[in-house]
């Protein structure tokens, strides 16, 4: 490298440093905010209970419950049988929840006996964490609160149109519920 090139390189370097020095040559101070955020969680537990009102052990019920899914099978049912069902949904999370969607239906490979079913009583009520009834709507379920669905169904001999309840039939039904955080927007 000859002397001219060295001189030019040196001059450019000096200019660059000068410019950088100009840019950085200011006093500054910085303040900081340290943040920590812990999110809550949505969680629910639910339980199922039942009573078959019969003097003899003829009809029987089996159920399967996991997460948000409940499947109930009623076997060897007969006319005039009365069944009581309780579904207890408990908010075990830290965020209030509301019912976003649900569905229920007849399970596969079962006989739809709904035309012969009469809902005698259906109750829906809420209880807060202290065991007191929730006044007003149960649309929102706060942490530690529970809602109870109490359904009494009765199997009828006749569906009201002269059709007799089929013999040898078994019926299964299922239901699922989806709950979301209380402030989520639910499409109309």
């Amino acid at each position: 490298m000859n002397t001219k090139k060295l001189a030019a390189t040196f001059a450019i370097l000096m200019m660059a440093l000068g410019i950088a020095g100009f840019a950085y040559a200011h006093w500054s101070e910085t303040v900081y905010i340290q943040g920590e955020v812990t999110t809550g969680y949505v969680d629910l537990e639910w339980s199922f209970d039942y009573i078959l009102r019969q003097d003899k052990d003829v009809a029987y019920l089996e159920y399967y419950i996991e997460d948000g899914y409940l499947e109930v099978g009623l076997y060897n049912v007969y006319p005039c049988l009365t069944v009581e069902l309780w579904i207890d949904i408990h908010n075990t999370g830290t965020i209030p929840v509301k019912l976003y969607d649900y569905d229920c239906g007849i399970t596969e490979n079962s006989t739809d006996l709904t035309p012969w079913i009469e809902i005698v009583c259906e109750e829906f009520y809420g209880v807060d964490g202290n065991g007191d009834n929730i006044v007003g709507s149960c649309e929102q379920l706060d942490p530690c609160d529970s809602v109870y669905y109490h359904v009494i169904i009765h199997f009828m001999q006749d569906d009201g149109q002269g059709n007799v309840m089929p013999e040898g039939a078994s019926m299964g039904f299922c239901a699922w519920f989806e709950w979301v955080n209380w402030n989520a927007e639910i499409p109309a």
Binding site: E29, V31, W182
Partner: protein, 190 residues
């Protein structure tokens, strides 16, 4: 005799010149000094957080229940640091913070746009921030006001920050973030 006289004149001249030179040398040392003694004290550029609070003191802002909790405090030993802890946050929870930064130095300064984890915010616009690096924004931050204000020593600037949690935030998770606010000397702002 005549020859003797001619020879002594230059000698006298030389002697005189030497004498004058000596005298002149002496005079060349006459001088006067004006001394300027300088002392420069540089100023101090400093800032301190003097106010820091959020608008969630109970019922969650915009809602009817107290679900999330927000706590703010300033480091008592080093007011360059402030802290915020939010507990039980959930999607769409939004909280507004207000901060006053006082000029505790001797030089006016300007506040620059705050940064969250190194990402520069935008005035009055939400900026999505991926706090945990999973590729999805967990919250968005909005910075309001405070920029382009010259703050003189003893004065303070007030600015606000909004944090809004998104649906993509994880449940039962802890996020951490650092917000940095730089102030620079007043005459270096372009």
């Amino acid at each position: 005799m005549m020859l003797k006289k001619k020879t002594s004149i230059p000698a006298i001249a030389v002697i005189v010149l030497i004498g004058l030179a000596i005298v002149g040398f002496s005079y060349a040392h006459w001088s006067a000094y004006l001394n300027v003694e300088g002392e420069v004290k540089t100023g101090i550029l400093d800032a301190a957080i003097v106010t820091w609070y959020c608008d969630d003191a109970g019922i969650d802002p915009g809602y009817t229940k107290d679900i999330a909790q927000c706590y703010c405090w300033i480091d008592e030993e080093d007011p360059h640091y402030a802290y915020v802890t939010i507990e039980n946050a959930y999607p769409s929870y939004e909280v507004k913070f207000t901060m006053d930064i006082e000029n505790t130095g001797t030089i006016p300064w300007f506040m620059l746009t705050p940064k969250v984890n190194g990402i520069t915010l935008v005035d009055s616009e939400y900026v999505d921030i991926d706090l945990d690096g999973d590729g999805y924004p967990d919250a968005n931050f909005m910075y309001i006001d405070g920029e382009d204000k010259q703050v003189h020593p003893g004065d303070f600037v007030e600015w606000s920050l909004r944090i809004h949690f998104k649906q993509t935030a994880h449940q039962n998770f802890t996020y951490t973030f650092t917000i940095s606010v730089e102030v620079i000397q007043w005459n270096m702002v372009e």
